[in-house]
Amino acid sequence: MTLTVLRIGPACTIQDQGRIGYLDQGLSRSGAADILALHEGAALLDQSPELAALEMAGMGGEFEATQSTYFALTGAPMQASIDGSPVPWNASHQIEAGQRLVIGAALRGSYGYLHLGGGIDVPEFLGSRSTHLTAKIGRVVQQDDMLNSPKGAGRAGWKLRPKDRFSGGLLHVVASFQTSLFDQSTLDRFAATSFTRGARANRMGMQLESHGPGFAAKGQLNILSEIITPGDIQMTGTGNPFILLPECQTTGGYPRIATVLPCDIPRAAQTPAGAEIRFEFVTLEEAATLQARHSADLIRLNSQIEPLVRNPHDIPDLLSYQLIDGMISATD
């Protein structure tokens, strides 16, 4: 036992990198909406990005430690504190038995992540710990649940300064097998349109809104159902786009105009309601360059972490520390 859940937001789930290999059974991958955040948490705690973390959609919760535990906070920035003292986001920390961690609402973005040293231990199903709400695999985390992790794993006192991916912006897309169902003027209009993330969004997909007519394909109500992958931009019957996310359906009949590159899915998923999104078509060669740069960025994360220097104002019991005898390091 590591953390007891005292309070929790309505849409918090355990997620790792997802469940691969069941597409043929209609089961989509699931996994963290922002996979980059898993890599950041792993770099901060010096552990594997394959480990499971708590994904907090929009709102965090309150947790009490039952043992001394290292943890990290990544993804959409949220206000966090231990026993009332603020702790910085994008950093790794330590919480002692009996202390309380409070995580508030997202300040920017959509999905915040709480990583525990050694990963959160829940039973695996078909090779993954990821909850898949629409498939009823696992469930949302609830009050009085325990978040368990191996004792003593991880580390504290490190931070990252990730680039902003929490306010929408430009998403690179490639043409996919149904792109040609849309005529060129519709594709041009799509690429020139500034969309706003709508109110409807969850781990299956997120709705986009725009002024002007919808983006319809020819004969789109009679298209044979065909494979769907996360990142696909699907048009509903009325021609409104949805970006599909890790819990999306595996096949469907509504046509997809393009597919967001895997490296841009974290930015897509993190776009909060009301923020602006635009799309730029790139060739497969350009996509390969962008993907390679993203892979290199993931590898570089470990060299980009910095020691976390705490502000003395944030240490409530400063006077109890033996500051002069070297027992407490300057970076503690």
Partner: protein
């Protein structure tokens, strides 16, 4: 020589950044479905280097691959080579198929869009029930949601389009219809297909040893029962079969 019903097929296209789709048709044809299932089986059995995952849809085989280990050009060439191996359109059905008969309530409060579907098919409600319930359909593919079958073909009068507006939610076990196919929903979901029947059959049983009830190639028939009979079945449905019977299909 490969027999190709249309010069456009088989057709090889990209899916997003890291996928390839080998399509054997763009309408629901039995031969295209056979070809898709068999071609996907070939890739799996040969264990191609760099392939991460495959699946078969109604008329296509999908390949997701690691672009760092396998280039688009190399995979494309390998696929085109394999397409010439045999006449995929006359490939045999998978082994170990089964025939399921599933008790089903047609229409009424439990399946409110039957009348609408019958109307679109130009039939009375009674005649629509008769034709739908007498048709033995095949699991063409499993997709959309876990364990969820696309079933067909239904008779041509049921080639009716999806609805433009989604029905906000239909329950697990719902039998829905569009474009000469059924889908039997494995969980509650919004849909643009018409809800014509309701069963207590659970396609996805995560708590069971075998989580996925159906396999591509299985056959199904949806036998009409009363609402009361369905309630009785629901009261004793711990195994999730919803009163269905199952027998092996001899090859």
């Amino acid at each position: 020589m490969t027999q190709v019903p249309d010069h456009k097929f088989p057709r090889v296209r990209t899916v997003g950044y890291d996928g390839l789709l080998v399509s054997f048709g763009d309408t629901m044809e039995e031969s295209s479905n056979r070809a898709a299932l068999a071609f996907r089986d070939l890739i799996d059995s040969e264990n191609w280097e760099g392939v991460l995952e495959t699946s078969a849809t109604l008329a296509s085989a999908y390949i997701r691959f690691d672009t760092k280990r396998l280039s688009h050009a190399d995979l494309d060439a390998r696929v085109r080579g394999a397409l010439g191996h045999q006449d995929w359109y006359s490939a045999p059905m998978p082994m170990g198929r089964r025939f399921w008969r599933v008790p089903t309530v047609y229409g009424g409060e439990l399946a409110p869009q039957l009348g609408d579907a019958a109307n679109a098919a130009g039939l009375s409600v009674e005649e629509a029930i008769r034709r739908l319930s007498e048709t033995r359909v095949r699991v063409l593919t499993i997709g959309f949601a876990p364990g969820q079958p696309y079933l067909g073909p239904l008779r041509p009068e049921f080639n009716i389009p999806r609805l433009q507006d989604l029905t906000p939610m239909v329950p697990e076990g719902a039998l829905v219809l569009a474009i000469s196919q059924f889908v039997l929903f494995s969980g509650p979901t919004p849909t643009g297909w018409r809800h014509v029947g309701q069963t207590a059959f659970r396609c996805f049983r995560p708590e069971a040893e075998h989580s996925f009830a159906l396999r591509p190639g299985d056959e199904m028939q949806f036998v009409p029962i009363s609402r009361d009979a369905l309630e009785d079945i629901r009261a004793n449905n711990a195994d999730g079969t919803g009163g269905a019977t199952c027998q092996e299909i001899k090859q």
